[in-house]
């Protein structure tokens, strides 16, 4: 039973990281109807920025905050400079731009920081004042911090004017424009926020998977799976989806023979399964298509 609880709690911790990535994906999806395939690599890059800051002697929390801030700015700039020109282009062109971004971030990270695996310090102290055999301090911290971040994001969208404007821009760009919302800048802001949330995910997952340029491929896939499971039109659903996927991943790894080696295949099956049987996800809106 202990093993089962350990697996479940560790799954929740990993799952909350997937939730961050899923939420970042959903934010951009809601605003622009697109999956940002570069989300994982952007998060990886942010994590390297934090790693560099730690190397320069910054306390790990300061590095975390700075990296998240830098990611926000970078996200805004990327939307304005690189994504904006294909805003109205066919889907294929947009997907190709995202893939181009993915490749660039991956290659440049390898170029600057090399492909060797680097340890990344945990944001949380080793000793929390109590001992538990069920969950480690980092995992506990991850769950707490992501829940905090998610609460902040929720509050931002629910209680601030900018959050309301962003929701309006995503829901109905034309009407939003009529009431004076700058839709273009709201999109850029959405990219910035998504980049920041992704950065949180990257920095939290780095102590678990170690820092290297390809570390986010699997995480992004699970993030996508979480987002789809919860429903791409539902931020809350995406968070829950991420948690569920994290727990499922751990259970499958332990209890299904061969499961630990085929984790990515499991994500593939989950993605295809959700898309085939419940395309709107558990909490998403079903979109009716009109001729």
């Amino acid at each position: 039973m202990d093993l089962f609880l350990q697996l479940t709690l560790a799954g929740l911790a990993i799952g909350s990281i997937y939730s961050c990535v899923a939420l970042a994906v959903v934010m951009i999806y809601q605003a622009t109807d697109h999956f940002n395939f570069a989300q994982g690599e952007m998060a990886m890059f942010s994590t390297y920025v934090a790693w560099t800051l730690v190397g320069l002697g910054a306390p790990v929390w300061l590095a975390f905050l700075l990296a998240v801030g830098i990611s926000f700015l970078a996200g805004v700039v990327i939307e304005r400079v690189i994504v904006k020109p294909v805003e109205n282009a066919p889907v294929l062109n947009q997907i190709i731009v995202f893939i181009g971004l993915l490749v660039i971030f991956n290659a440049v990270a390898g170029w600057i920081w090399e492909f060797t695996i680097k340890p990344f310090p945990s944001l949380f102290p080793e000793d929390l004042g109590f001992k538990s055999t069920l969950i480690g301090p980092h995992h506990l911290g991850v769950i707490a911090l992501t829940l905090g971040v998610l609460a902040l994001v929720f509050a931002f969208f629910r209680f601030t004017r900018v959050g309301l404007a962003m929701r309006a821009a995503a829901a109905n760009p034309d009407s939003a424009r009529m009431v004076g919302v700058s839709v273009g800048w709201m999109l850029a802001l959405g990219w910035g926020l998504a980049a920041s949330i992704g950065a949180v995910g990257g920095i939290l997952v780095a102590p678990i998977v170690y820092l290297e340029p390809n570390m986010m491929a699997g995480v992004l896939l699970y993030g996508f799976a979480g987002a789809l499971l919860g429903g791409v039109s539902s931020p809350g659903g995406a968070v829950l989806g991420g948690l569920v996927v994290g727990v499922l991943e751990n259970w499958v790894g332990q209890y299904v023979p061969g499961g630990s080696e085929l984790k990515l295949t499991f994500a593939l099956i989950l993605i295809v399964g959700v898309l085939v049987f419940k395309p709107a996800g558990l909490f998403g809106r079903v979109v009716v298509r009109r001729v």
Binding site: A89, I104, V108, K263, L268, I271, V272, P279
Partner: protein
């Protein structure tokens, strides 16, 4: 009604095609074995790009997971060669069939997925492929992380080197598959395939079985890519899981876009680009430390290409040709 349509087989087309094939047939006698080998690789890529073009360019279904079908073809050929010691060329039809079956089966769930969701599902397929190939339970067959080594095919005709012979075989396969693709796309079925891309709802209203066409197109596309994968095994003489990672899928997409995703001849340019430009980029970034690494240059190139020439090399050639025709008609 068909009589109203101009015959698409014009003398110019035949002449151009014949000249290109003749030129390609002479090439291995003009260049070194190594260069022939590189051209063979480029043609193998070209066949894979043809598959991707049929699917994405003509049918409007996205795939960023064609590396998986490339792997299916490559591993089918390699396993038949390594474990059963088949004749090289006998493995090609089998690789084609297996890739078709896998593509068709993947196309079934893909039916319900449009645009972005399909891209996502194929993305997942591409990312999961290397891990599947390394899986312990299949290790006896796939060789696990190590992969499998296979011999190069013996020259078919005496007097040709192994590389030259393989060049001709690949050329023949590519020409055949190009003709098949051209005939398919200029047929009734081809018009249905394109109608589905342009307006799926209108297409189904006109009585086109969109589900059947989409899955079959997926299968055909995977088949082309699988054949390319099998040929690539003959060229490189081994298969290993990490060669079929997501970056191969990106490569294929880049090649398609560069050559022109809605074209058949464009795949040649795409293939050449994929073989020669990365080497070139690598040389540059080795020589000058401040130049970003080849993959970054690749990414930048991809984005710039989609900004400025989304129709690709062949699209540019066609546009230039149309412009020249208009101009000469106006001058008369």
């Amino acid at each position: 009604m068909a009589a109203d349509r101009p015959n698409p087989v014009t003398p110019q087309l035949l002449a151009g095609f014949g000249a290109a094939v003749l030129f390609a047939a002479v090439v291995p006698h003009l260049v070194s074995d190594f260069t022939s080998f590189q051209f063979t690789q480029a043609m193998a890529y070209g066949i894979a790009l043809l598959g991707l073009n049929i699917l994405t360019g003509y049918n409007g279904q996205f795939s960023i997971g064609h590396s998986a079908f490339y792997a299916v073809g490559a591993y089918t050929a390699a396993i038949l060669l390594y474990h059963f010691e088949w004749n090289h060329y006998a493995t090609l039809p089998v690789a084609a069939l297996v890739a078709f079956a896998v593509g068709f089966l993947f196309g079934l769930p893909a039916l319900r997925l449009e645009g972005l969701y399909l891209a996502l599902a194929t993305f997942a397929f591409a990312v999961a492929t290397p891990q599947l190939l390394k899986f312990d339970a299949f290790e006896h067959w796939t060789g696990g992380v190590q992969g499998l080594f296979v011999p190069k095919p013996e020259p078919l005709i005496e007097g040709l080197s192994a590389d030259q012979s393989l060049y001709y075989v690949t050329l023949a396969v590519m020409v055949l598959l190009m003709i098949v693709a051209w005939c398919l796309l200029h047929s009734r079925s081809g018009r249905a395939i394109m109608a589905i891309r342009d307006n799926p709802i209108a297409a189904s209203t006109m009585g086109i079985n969109t589900a059947l066409y989409k899955t079959t197109t997926f299968g055909i596309s995977a088949m082309y890519t699988g054949i390319a994968g099998a040929l690539s095994v003959f060229v490189t003489e081994f298969v290993a899981p990490d060669a079929f990672n997501f970056f191969l899928a990106v490569n294929l997409l880049v090649g398609s876009v560069v050559g022109g995703i809605v074209s058949i001849p464009g795949v040649i340019f795409g293939g050449l680009f994929l073989v020669f430009v990365p080497n070139f980029a690598q040389d540059i970034s080795r020589a000058y430390p401040f130049v970003p690494p080849p993959w970054a240059i690749f990414g930048i190139f991809l984005i710039l290409a989609i900004y400025f020439v989304p129709f690709g090399v062949w699209g540019a050639v066609e546009r230039g040709f149309a412009w020249w025709k208009r101009k000469s008609a106006a001058g008369r």
